[in-house]
Point group: C2
Chain length 527, copies 2
Amino acid sequence: MITGKNYIGNQLSANGNKVFKTFNPLLNIENQWEITEASTDEVNQAVELAAEAFKTYSKISGVKKAEFLRAIAEEIETLGDELLEVYSSESGLPKGRAVGERGRTLGQLRAFADHIEEGNWVAASIDTAQPERKPLPKVDLRKMNVALGPVVVFGASNFPFAFSTAGGDTAAALAAGCPVIVKSHPMHAATGEMVSSAIIKAAEKTGMPNGVFSNLNSSGIEIGQALVQHSKVKAVGFTGSIRGGRALFDLAAKRKEPIPVFAEMGSVNPVVILPEALQKKYKTLAKTYSNSITMGAGQFCTNPGLIIGVKSEGLTNFVNALAEDIIKEEPSCMLHPNIIGAYETNKTAALSQKGLKVLAGYEDDVKVNHAKQVVTAVEGDIFLNNPTLHHEVFGPFSLVVQCDNINQLEQIISNLEGQLTGTIISDGNEIGKYTTVVNALQSRVGRIIFNGVPTGVEVCPSMLHGGPYPASTDSRFTAVGVDSIKRFVRPFSFQDWPNELLPEELKNENPLGISRLVNGKNSKDKI
Amino acid sequence: MITGKNYIGNQLSANGNKVFKTFNPLLNIENQWEITEASTDEVNQAVELAAEAFKTYSKISGVKKAEFLRAIAEEIETLGDELLEVYSSESGLPKGRAVGERGRTLGQLRAFADHIEEGNWVAASIDTAQPERKPLPKVDLRKMNVALGPVVVFGASNFPFAFSTAGGDTAAALAAGCPVIVKSHPMHAATGEMVSSAIIKAAEKTGMPNGVFSNLNSSGIEIGQALVQHSKVKAVGFTGSIRGGRALFDLAAKRKEPIPVFAEMGSVNPVVILPEALQKKYKTLAKTYSNSITMGAGQFCTNPGLIIGVKSEGLTNFVNALAEDIIKEEPSCMLHPNIIGAYETNKTAALSQKGLKVLAGYEDDVKVNHAKQVVTAVEGDIFLNNPTLHHEVFGPFSLVVQCDNINQLEQIISNLEGQLTGTIISDGNEIGKYTTVVNALQSRVGRIIFNGVPTGVEVCPSMLHGGPYPASTDSRFTAVGVDSIKRFVRPFSFQDWPNELLPEELKNENPLGISRLVNGKNSKDKI
């Protein structure tokens, strides 16, 4: 049952006096549920509860936390089709996508459960004492990762499951030992409440402290600001726009005690097609990229918004084929009238730039809130000198930059802002001739792809989802994969600490059997 | 020979028109050398050169970088006694300390050389492709740490070798593959130039690109500000005051592209003496702490500035013994008249606080620029309610807080700002009764010590030198030990990248024989 209330720990609460409704973009009507915004009091209650819960939750064993994460996954599954229907009614995304994204979300929770159950992630390091060392004796030092404190997670509009309530940020923070307060995304607040109920049930079933999780509704920015400014909040996870992410980063940096904000923001995901590939593979490439550009109405942070090549017969053939293919794709419904509104505004702004040509745009009538895709082209020198063209147009939009030569192409790449991904399309070994292009691209991105598409972010240990600013606020961490747990921990050293009082991970006996760095060598042995 | 010039890469340069001199606090006279401040042009030249050097230096093998680091250590040794004399003349620190600190600095450089030669630090992770996976094939992903870009290092006043020109920050950044621009500390600019000359010689001998290292002189704040604001600088290392560190952090956070500032700042390093320990060991403790408080004129960031106990006969005995012992310690020369001036000012400010009692202070005449130690005491409730008393007095100063009971002691700890270290003094097992005190202390510090002193920072992998703000600006990283390399790297993913074009660390053949995470399991095997 959807109540529209907030979860302050395991209590439903609705003390605020502002209400709002979510929107069904497919039917173009408001959804029925009345959502009550959290009040400032409720923000404080949730954070105080989280800070109290932190004292015990941060010390709970990996095995117990893993039980909790797996129970969350189970409880989400138990919500069954109703959850999928609410998801679709608040996002316009089809059932297949809902099933897939739920699968990914459950997979993430279980991957973190395995990760913390295995236990190596704490990066235990032990340097034993040398009391006889000259000129000074050496003390015993033992270090491991410990949880940072309460974490605030902002749900993302474009992934109501995988980057929201029980998404990657929440799973990573809970796995690390940090209580989580979710600032629910206003576009899918009912989905958020259902998922929250699953988390609360799982917490109760597995005996987690009250306050390990809270969920706050809000349609404005005040609740999010209050959370980021609260002195007991120790880190923030965010997925969304550059403007939103930067505002939170700035707030957090101005605090008396600054805290890290991990914001995964915009990206145009440049794709460089090398000359021989253009010549030989332009037909297949046009098909592949028509599909990648329009997939999910282009509402992915890894959507290929920029395709770059050197002028040639190959490039001309490619843009013609792309123009032909892109209009064959079926337009999709966007998440919300505000999202399609922003798409239209940004598209119009881009199209009004001098020198931008429309290669092809979908022109037939479409259903309400469905986005018409468009691909455009521009000369290299015009692109270089117009920063507006470097900005993301969130939606099924792409821009082909036609360079005079490879030097100009390299210059364009070097002048791009930071990106989540960069792609090189090469015919066999021709890439070997373009080392400087590859190096330039590498310095601007977090993940580099060979002969593929940037859409599709594999959840695995070797994934890096992030990149130089403004792709993310901190290129040193990933937002996807088990290594994202590193965002929410700090290393901590015990000096000459009595063995019986050390955490299990650092005891001489190595009761958890984890891999540790002992006097500089990896070992699972006892000491 | 000391020229007083800057190093812009391997060129001596002195285009600025401001000059200054360093000061010999022992003799109370200016040193002879005329130091020329860097100009804004020289700042830009150094950064541009570093950005250019980054392109090649970031891709140089660990073995070659290790050669460079070892050559720096050798060249510093070659400078022999002259370097030690210049060091002492600019710091007032005795020859024994100079020799010890040089040893530590050479040790750090060599430890980093071993670390990058071994190569495991890149944290290579490989997930191989599964082309047959359903519903979607799995791509090949390979991740490793890569260098961030040019790093600015601010030399510290209190460690002219170990935390300055070729100190921990510089060694870590160079090891990571980042060119370094040092903003030399104005109190020991000549020492800085000599050490810089060693680095430049080493760079030339081992074939490193020009610009891998620069050294800029400055007696004000403008040069440092210009460096932190330069768009091609990607990270900052700093050791010094909270005011200085926070100012740099704020500047960096306001940039168009924010960059990380790793500032290791102030700490009062609370020491909790438990009741039985006070009763049984007060005499030894008083001696140990008299020594720790006055060591090196208290000019260590881990100096014990705060000692906390519950009122008892034991505590009374302890403060009496401490008062007796502390005045027996020989006062030492401080680094600079400005430092002793600040010590006197801060001491006076503390002593003027209501309720603060002087337990003992050195009263005999001392040589010029020598600091008179003082220990003070205050009641728990007065301390709790006066934040001024929580601030560091940099120098041989300590405050004993006398609590009414253990609850008040715990409350005091919970209300402390972030600290580098916390120490618990326990008689045998009594610590087992004070879990909440230990947990409270753990949440405020980066390193917790059992029955020891906070001074003395062992350089080893398990050391964590840092802590919650304001001990450092980022508690997630250490400033000491090989793990400090993690401050200057970001993880980077290659997707479906051709084996022959991958870095050695990620190639199927594992030519470097490093330990890698392959499909989730640690392995040194080929793929």
